[in-house]
């Protein structure tokens, strides 16, 4: 059995190819189809093929644990000549690497991707521009799959950028709406900061490993993660430890941009402007997972230094708390879930930083399902009542039973209540960081923040559930009468509910758990314990207790249709306002943008308009003028042409007979 499935490994490239094909078909023929929805079914088909193949490959990896299967094609090889900028030459490689990391991601991305596509069929039918939507969504999925399967750093970066571009298009899908257009720009620009850092990191690695010393030849190999079944850079001593640390920080910067970690987290909540399906895909499976996956890949195949790790832990731990605190007070259902994503990503980053890469991916895995579930359920609600304001909803439990149960399962999972998926992975994250903190006391403050977040998480998500679903009727009577969503929407919700229940337990199936708990020897970085296996009842009890307290608090304040209003004079009021205003970061950014950046940019615009543009236009005019004048050379008179030939001959003769002998540098003298 395992042999049969691992025969699929070399064909892994078909996984991203299927949605790419869907993209091409919809892009070329989408608008020419008789009914625009057909494009949607093409996209669903592409995602389905990708899912079947992806899951089969992942199962194959489970059955032959800890193996690398690399298949790559050098599409451009430049041989080196021993000196110069690239003495060993370099290659650009396209390939697929099937290993435990990518197997986990394959399951996450293809399953969630397929379910979101299916959900879209029901959700998007009212919208214009359907072919564009399905084409972009297919390309988005394909890019993420290309990234997941990338077997070298440059390919990783290429697809990373593609993912960014697709997210720009999709967040700004309703481009006629100014807020959507600006959210798309914001997402693109903020993640771009991360992208630039990522690229700088690649350059540093290139410099460290490609030009000289040990590891030389990494560039010639095409920046491969593994070669001959072992990580390429395993055990390669680093010639310049400081530079290596800096490169690791650059990778952290890249990951922080894509995975919305502090301080690059502002874009994600605003990215809610896209269709809810896009939010589900971005938040659960594609875009934000890419950052965490980058950290995982670097930690496994290249390695972080202790300084890097501390900073990663700090960023992750702080973001966890920071984002959760903002989720406490917001009224927009999608925004609450969005903050929760940022917060949960913080947990993953925290675990990877503490050295427990596989624990971080475990949480990524379970989170993908319950977060997609929460988003799709929220999408079904928005679809039904046409508002995103929690304070207008209420009592939806009765009219949307499946959706309300789905949301509840997602909420329980997010709160870390056993036996739902989130419990196991969150417990592993907290436990592993606790274990790491024993030898790294600097981790303690971030562990405490992470524990505090458990309480807040349970509180804010149940506040949302109670506001939307409990009570007798909507608080705003003008809302349209809600009804349960069509099957294309409920089926994904039901499937994801099932996954949100079992995804955590799956890890106890030996083969499946093997992906996460692959024994020592799989992960090469010396001194880093790959997985966390011991569990402490005390720690689990603590986190479950915090979660239950959060739920209880939410029930007391918001249950059964209650609306808790904070007295204007309350001492907590300033804090609430601070959180609603997103710690004034957004306002600060806006102020900074308007006052500082705008002033500077007006100056630069002046420079650009009069000096740079002036120069460019000057050149343009110069060349145009030159072009017009020089065309007279092209007289159409053949004798003129013959004259040019003779002039050319004369120039060569003068050069060869008179110039060359006079100058030793030209071989004369």
């Amino acid at each position: 059995m395992s042999g049969t499935l691992s025969a699929l490994f070399p064909w892994a490239f078909l996984v991203p190819l299927a949605p790419t094909l869907a993209f091409v078909i919809i892009g070329l023929f989408g608008r020419r189809m008789q009914r625009l929805e057909w494009g949607g079914w093409v996209a669903v088909g592409g995602a389905f093929v990708a899912m079947v193949l992806g899951v089969l490959i992942a199962v194959g990896e489970m059955l032959s644990p800890g193996t690398y299967s690399d298949r790559s094609v050098a599409w451009l090889t430049l041989p080196g000549n021993g000196t110069g900028a690239f003495p060993h030459g370099f290659s650009l490689v396209m390939g697929t690497l099937v290993d435990p990391l990518s197997a986990i991601m394959l399951i996450v991305v293809t399953v969630v991707g397929f379910l979101v596509m299916l959900f879209s069929i029901g959700y998007m039918h009212r919208d214009q521009g359907l072919p564009r939507y399905y084409a972009e969504l297919s390309l988005f999925l394909a890019s993420m799959l290309g990234l997941v399967l990338a077997d070298n750093l440059l390919q990783f970066f290429l697809f990373w950028e593609l993912v960014g571009v697709c997210s720009y298009f999709l967040i700004g899908f309703y481009y006629a709406k100014p807020s959507a257009a600006s959210a798309a720009k914001e997402a693109f620009l903020v993640t771009r900061i991360g992208d630039v850092l990522f690229l700088l990191g690649i350059f540093i690695y290139f410099d460290l490993f490609a030009t000289a010393g040990p590891g030389a030849g990494w560039a010639a190999s095409g920046f491969l993660f593994v070669s001959h079944g072992a990580p390429f850079l395993a055990g390669v001593p680093v010639s310049n430890a400081t530079l290596f640390t800096v490169a690791g920080l650059m990778m952290l910067g890249g990951a922080a941009g894509k995975s919305a970690q502090f301080p690059l987290d502002v874009w994600l909540p605003d990215a809610m402007e896209g269709p809810t399906t896009v939010s589900a895909l971005i938040h659960a499976a594609t875009m934000v997972a890419a950052g965490v996956y980058l950290l995982a890949v670097v930690s496994v195949f290249i390695g972080f230094t202790a300084t890097d790790q501390l900073l990663i832990v700090a960023i992750g731990g702080f973001t966890t708390f920071w984002a959760a605190s903002m989720a406490l007070v917001h009224r927009d259902i999608k925004r609450v879930i969005a903050y929760s994503t940022v917060s949960q990503l913080g947990y993953m980053v925290l675990a990877v930083g503490a050295g427990f890469t596989m624990v971080g991916l475990y949480h990524l895995f379970t989170h993908a399902f319950f977060k997609a579930l929460l988003f799709l359920a929220a999408g079904a609600v928005i679809h039904a009542v046409e508002t995103q304001d929690l304070f207008k909803m209420g009592g939806l439990r009765k009219s949307m039973r499946i959706t309300s149960i789905g949301f509840l399962i997602g909420a329980l999972s997010l709160s870390g209540i056993p036996p739902f998926a989130g419990f196991f992975s969150k417990d592993d994250v907290l436990g592993s960081v606790y274990q790491a903190a024993q030898s790294h006391p600097a981790y303690w403050p971030f562990l405490i923040l992470a524990y505090a977040t458990v309480f807040m998480t349970a509180y804010y998500i149940f506040r949302a559930w109670f506001l939307a679903f409990s009570g007798d009727h909507p608080r705003d009577p003008t809302l349209p009468h809600a009804h349960e969503a069509p099957w294309t929407m409920t089926v994904p919700i039901v499937i994801l509910s099932g996954l949100a229940i079992v995804a955590g337990l799956l890890a106890f199936v030996p083969q499946f758990g093997g992906l996460f708990r692959a024994g020592a020897g799989f992960l090469p970085t010396p001194g880093v314990p790959p997985t966390y296996t011991t569990t402490s009842l005390l720690l689990s009890g603590l986190s479950v207790g915090l979660g239950l307290t959060g739920i209880l608090t939410a029930y007391v304040l918001w249950g059964n249709g209650r609306v808790f209003t904070l007295a204007e004079s309350s001492a907590v009021q300033p804090i609430r306002r601070l959180l609603l205003e997103r710690y004034y970061v957004k306002a600060g950014v806006d102020w900074f943008g308007l006052r500082v950046v705008y002033t500077v940019s007006r100056f630069l615009a002046f420079v650009d308009e009069y000096i740079i543009d002036g120069t460019v236009h000057g050149f343009e005019r110069m060349f145009s003028e030159l072009s017009t004048r020089a065309r007279r050379v092209q007289s159409g008179v053949v004798l003129d042409y013959a004259a040019y030939v003779v002039v050319g001959l004369a120039i060569f003769l003068v050069f060869l007979y008179l110039v060359v002998p006079a100058f030793p540098a030209l071989g004369g003298g």
Binding site: W75, T77, S627, A630, R631, G636, Y644, L656, L666, G669
Partner: protein, 542 residues
């Protein structure tokens, strides 16, 4: 001493056979364009397969007709042979045959009643035959004669429609300048023979030319004159500045298919000639630094001051001037074919970088650029022919809305222009990338060649983008003659593959070019490794 078997001429025999068959059928009064076209295409395909087999491409390697030990045999062991088989030459043969294939496929869509179909396809085959022969030469006279076979055939091709005065005028100009250049080339060859008593390219190249203190000795001064004449005579084919002026009038006046052939094929013969005549002295000079020169013909005028550096300077300057002049002149062009002609001149400048740098990666890069140019430029001329056939004018502004009305032609042309501009994912990007990075890798003043190339690429985007804007952003005037009746813009989407009566042969040829631009842009290593091997083997064989 390696014996050359007759089988090296198998591709040529296919071409010759097809041509003779066509003339035979024509002489017995059989006039059916499709049959002539089919024969020509078949002959070219067979020849191409034979060449690919000799290049040892995987599934065809079993059919190779040339023994492996003959290919890339060291030139020092050729003796007096007129012919040598190099993978470098084979690659060129494949390039020539590919461009001939595109043209003959496309010409299948010419009007069936047209007279002179036999002459057209026959001449096309003869021109191709001349090019493939040139790619086998080891001797200067053999090389120049082969180039002349191509030359004479193409003069006739340009003017073969007879009724079209523009074609006739173009043919006349082409012929006059061609005759002048041929005269200079042969005069140069005879001067070299006078100086050194040989016409073998290897013997000539390895004869160290003394450039030291004037006065020069007699043999050297004569030889220098010979080399200068050859630079001019062959430069005419390359369309290197200042020998480019004819090309604009001729590409413009000739039928589009013939322009495609001139740009895609016959220009490359000139480049091949440049490489063959001048690479040996350049390389040999480079080797002098370490090893004392061998004296193959006993006429060496000794010593170390070498002829390589001035040659490299000449070709380097020529490269920069050619690409710049081509691009600058293209900027203000309003005629589509003239714009493409100038662009073709500038592309020749990029290719010359390979000769100036003369390292293995640079030669491989030049080969890739030459290869890419077939699909980009010949393809573009074929599209122009198709669009002209639809009754659309020859000015760029006549192309308003073409991209929307004819999605297939518009998209294809856009792809070709983007590739010419060097946009990633197209073969035009990869070829420039490889070529420029080879120049950077070679360091020294060669880096400036890369800089000039990059600046020129940026400049060229101006005029390519202008065409794209006209095709897609601008609406044609209502009742414009450019659009056939029934054209409704902005209504329903036109079917993607509406070929609009451009003919299947032409549509297929254009499709091949577009697919190749993408395929080799995404996965260039398929051909690049062949080119890199060819360049390496050439350097070893010389």
């Amino acid at each position: 001493m390696t014996a050359i078997p007759w089988t090296v001429f198998v591709p040529e025999l296919f071409l010759l056979g097809a041509a003779l068959l066509i003339f035979l059928l024509d002489s017995v009064g059989f006039r059916w364009l499709e049959v002539f076209g089919g024969l020509a295409t078949g002959g070219i395909v067979l020849a191409l397969l034979a060449v690919l087999a000799d290049l040892r491409f995987a599934p065809l390697a079993a059919f190779a007709t040339v023994p492996a030990n003959v290919v890339d045999a060291p030139w020092s062991q050729l003796g007096g042979s007129l012919v040598a088989v190099t993978s470098f030459g084979l690659v060129f043969q494949a390039i020539f045959l590919t461009s001939a294939l595109l043209v003959s496929l496309s010409s299948l869509s010419r009007p069936t009643k047209e007279k002179g179909a036999a002459i057209f396809f026959g001449l096309l085959l003869f021109a191709t035959l001349g090019m493939t022969l040139a790619a086998l030469s080891a001797d200067l006279i053999f090389l120049l004669l082969s180039i002349e076979i191509t030359g004479i055939s193409t003069y006739l091709l340009v003017g073969y429609t007879r009724r079209d005065p523009r074609g006739l005028e173009a043919a006349m100009k082409f012929y006059i300048i061609g005759a002048l250049s041929a005269a200079l080339s042969f005069f140069g060859a005879s001067l070299l023979y006078a100086a050194y008593g040989t016409t073998s390219l290897y013997a000539l190249g390895t004869t160290v030319v003394y450039l030291g203190h004037p006065p020069l000795d007699g043999a050297t001064s004569i030889a220098l004159l010979g080399y200068a004449f050859l630079i001019v005579g062959i430069g005419f084919k390359v369309t290197a500045v200042p020998f480019q002026a004819w090309a604009v009038d001729v590409y413009d006046g000739a039928p589009s298919d013939v322009s495609a052939f001139l740009a895609g094929g016959s220009k490359k013969v000139g480049l091949f000639g440049y490489f063959l005549v001048f690479l040996v002295p350049i390389l040999f000079a480079g080797r002098l630094a370490t090893a004392p020169p061998a004296c193959p013909v006993g006429l060496c005028v000794t010593l170390h001051p070498d002829f390589g550096v001035p040659l490299q300077v000449i070709f380097g300057v020529m490269a920069i001037v050619t690409m710049t002049v081509g691009n600058v002149l293209a900027l203000q062009q309003s005629e589509m074919k003239r714009m493409l002609a100038y662009s073709s001149i500038s592309q020749a400048g990029y290719m010359l970088i390979g000769l100036a740098v003369a390292t293995s990666p640079a030669i491989a890069g030049a080969l890739l650029q030459i290869f890419a140019h077939v699909f980009m430029k010949a393809g573009a001329f074929l599209v122009v022919g198709a669009v002209a056939g639809l009754g659309i004018g020859s000015k760029i502004e006549d192309w308003k809305g073409v991209g929307l009305r004819y999605p297939y032609l518009g998209l294809s042309f856009a792809v070709m222009l983007l590739s010419l501009a060097g946009v990633p994912l197209t073969v035009g990007f990869v070829s420039k990338f490889v070529l420029f990075s080879a120049a950077v890798q070679a360091q020294g003043w060669f880096v400036w060649l890369a800089v000039a190339g990059l600046l020129n690429s940026a400049l060229s985007v101006f005029y390519y983008a202008r065409v794209l804007r006209v095709m897609y952003m601008e609406r044609p005037e209502p009742r414009s003659a450019a659009l056939p009746s029934g054209a409704v813009l902005g209504g329903s989407e036109p079917p993607l593959l509406a070929l609009g009566g451009i003919g299947y042969g032409r549509a297929i040829a254009i499709g091949i070019a577009v697919v190749a631009i993408f395929a080799f842009g995404v996965y260039p290593q398929v051909v690049l490794s062949t080119f890199q091997n060819a360049a390496n083997h050439l350097l070893q064989a010389l």
